[in-house]
C-alpha cells in the first residue's frame, strides 16, 4: 500500500492532475503542490501528489554518490 510512483503531469483541472505513471494514466489530487503544471514530474502516493521531483532522476542519483562520500 505504501509504494510511491513517479509520474508525469499530463493535464491540470480544478486542483486535480491527470498523470502518466509508466504508461498508466490516473487522476490524482494536486492539492499539496503549488503551481503544478503539465510536464512536471511528481511522486504520487495514495492518490495524492506528495512532492515535485526532477526529471532526470537516475542521473542525479549517480552524481549523488560522489557528493555524499
Amino acid at each position: 500500500m505504501c509504494v510511491g510512483l513517479p509520474a508525469k503531469v499530463m493535464t491540470m483541472k480544478d486542483g486535480m492532475a491527470v498523470v502518466d505513471a509508466s504508461g498508466a494514466k490516473r487522476e490524482v489530487s494536486a492539492e499539496l503542490i503549488e503551481n503544478l503544471e503539465p510536464g512536471d514530474y511528481v511522486m504520487v502516493h495514495a492518490g495524492i501528489a506528495i512532492a515535485k521531483i526532477t526529471e532526470e532522476d537516475e542521473d542525479e542519483a549517480e552524481d549523488l554518490l560522489e557528493g555524499l562520500l
Partner: protein, 351 residues
C-alpha cells in the same frame, strides 16, 4: 551497469569494517532489498533488520475487530486498502466478515472512498485510515472533501501512526536506520537530525530505486566505521529539509496526536493521530459509538520480536508451516511489504 552503480556495489562488497546492524524502517525497502538481491552482496558482518514501517504489520488486532463490528453490526460499507483484508483480527479477518455478508470495498486511495460515499448516499461508508505520515494527508484530504461536499455518510476509522516514537523505542535495535524517503518527503529532516545530534542515532534517508538503495548502503558503510553518529539525506530529489508544508498543515488542521497501539510493539506514547474534536462528525468511533475492543493476537506469532530485530521470521515456529501468505497467522505475513512475507516469498524461490 553504470559507473556510479558499479562503484557503490564495490564499496558494499568490499566492506571490511566492524559489524553493523542496519534497520530498514520501511516495508517497501524490505521488499525492494530482497527483490534487488542486496542481501546477497552484503558481507556477513552487515546484518539487516526489517523494522515496523509496514502499516499493515503494525495495525493491531483490535482495529480489525472494530472494522468487522462496523461491517456486521452496523451494516457500514468498509472501504479499505486491499492489504488489510486478510489481516487477522482477534477471531476473524475482514475477508471472513465479507463471507458473512459484510460489505468490504477495496480502494486505492481515501479519495476513492470519498467518491464511493458521494455516489452511494444511502450507505454509511467508513474508510480504514491506516498508514504513516505519507498516507495521512490523503486521509485528511478525503475528510476535507467530504465536508465541502456536505456528506453525512462518510467517516474515518483512524489508526494513523507517526514514526518518531517508534525510532525512539527502537533506537537500541540497530546501529543505522534506513529512513523511509516518502515519510521524510512530508515531515522534512529536522527530527532525524535531532535524533542524530542529541540521541546519537545514525540514519540515512533513502529512495526506492536500485541506484538509490545501493547508494545509501555505500554511503552508510563508508560513514559507519568513522565511529561518529551521522545523518545523510540520500534522496534529495524528493526530500527537502522542511518537507511538505501544505501536507503538514493539512494534517494539523484535521488531526491531533494520541497514544497508539502497535501490533507487536505495544502502546507507544504520542505515536498516533486521531481526528480533532471539531471533526468528530467524521470520526467513526464517535459516530457509531464503537465499544472498546482489546484485540488478541495468536500467542504463536513473533511479529513483535521480528520487528525489533530480536529474531528472524524463520525463527518463528509456525513460519512457512502454519503461517503462509495464503493463511497468515500474523500481520507480517500478509502484506508484500511485511518481513515474514518477504522472507517467505524469496526463500521459497531458493534465494
Amino acid at each position: 551497469m553504470k559507473e556510479q552503480l558499479k562503484k557503490a556495489k564495490a564499496i558494499i562488497e568490499g566492506y571490511d569494517g566492524p559489524a553493523v546492524r542496519v534497520m530498514e524502517v520501511c516495508g517497501t525497502h524490505t521488499h525492494e532489498i530482497f527483490h534487488l538481491g542486496v542481501r546477497k552482496i552484503l558481507p556477513p558482518q552487515v546484518e539487516l533488520i526489517s523494522g515496523p514501517g509496514c502499516p499493515v504489520c503494525v495495525t493491531p488486532a483490535g482495529f480489525i475487530d472494530e472494522a468487522i463490528w462496523l461491517a456486521l453490526e452496523k451494516n457500514v460499507t468498509i472501504c479499505t486498502f486491499g492489504d488489510l483484508v486478510r489481516v487477522p483480527g482477534s477471531t476473524r479477518s475482514l475477508a471472513d466478515a465479507r463471507s458473512l455478508g459484510g460489505k468490504i470495498q477495496m480502494v486505492y486511495s481515501p479519495m476513492d472512498a470519498f467518491e464511493y460515499a458521494k455516489e452511494h448516499k444511502d450507505e454509511q461508508v467508513v474508510f480504514l485510515s491506516v498508514g504513516f505520515e505519507t498516507t495521512t494527508p490523503a486521509s485528511c484530504l478525503s475528510v476535507k472533501m467530504a465536508k465541502e461536499a456536505g456528506l453525512t455518510n462518510y467517516a474515518l476509522l483512524a489508526a494513523n501512526k507517526t514514526m518518531p516514537g517508534a525510532y525512539e523505542m527502537l533506537k537500541d535495535s540497530a546501529d543505522v536506520f534506513l529512513y523511509p524517503g516518502h515519510v521524510n518527503a512530508i515531515t522534512g529532516n529536522a527530527l532525524n537530525r535531532k535524533l542524530c545530534e542529541e540521541g546519537g542515532i545514525s540514519g540515512i534517508v533513502t529512495g526506492f530505486t536500485a541506484s538509490e538503495i545501493l547508494t545509501a548502503f555505500a554511503v552508510l558503510l563508508k560513514k559507519f566505521p568513522e565511529g561518529k553518529p551521522f545523518f545523510v539525506n540520500a534522496y534529495p530529489r524528493v526530500v527537502t529539509e522542511e518537507g511538505s508544508i501544505p501536507a503538514q498543515k493539512l494534517i494539523k488542521e484535521w488531526m491531533e496526536p494520541c497514544d497508539s497501539q502497535w501490533r507487536g510493539l505495544g502502546m507507544i506514547k504520542n505515536s498516533g493521530l486521531r481526528l480533532r474534536k471539531e471533526a468528530q462528525d467524521f470520526d467513526a468511533r464517535v459516530k457509531f459509538s464503537i465499544p472498546k475492543m482489546e484485540g488478541r493476537t495468536s500467542p504463536a506469532c513473533r511479529c513483535g520480536d521480528v520487528l525489533q530485530g530480536k529474531c528472524r521470521p524463520t525463527d518463528c515456529k509456525v513460519f512457512g508451516k502454519g503461517c503462509t501468505p495464503l493463511h497468515p497467522i500474523g500481520a507480517c505475513m500478509v502484506s508484500n511489504e511485511g518481513a515474514c512475507s518477504a522472507y517467505y516469498q524469496y526463500n521459497s524461490r531458493g534465494e
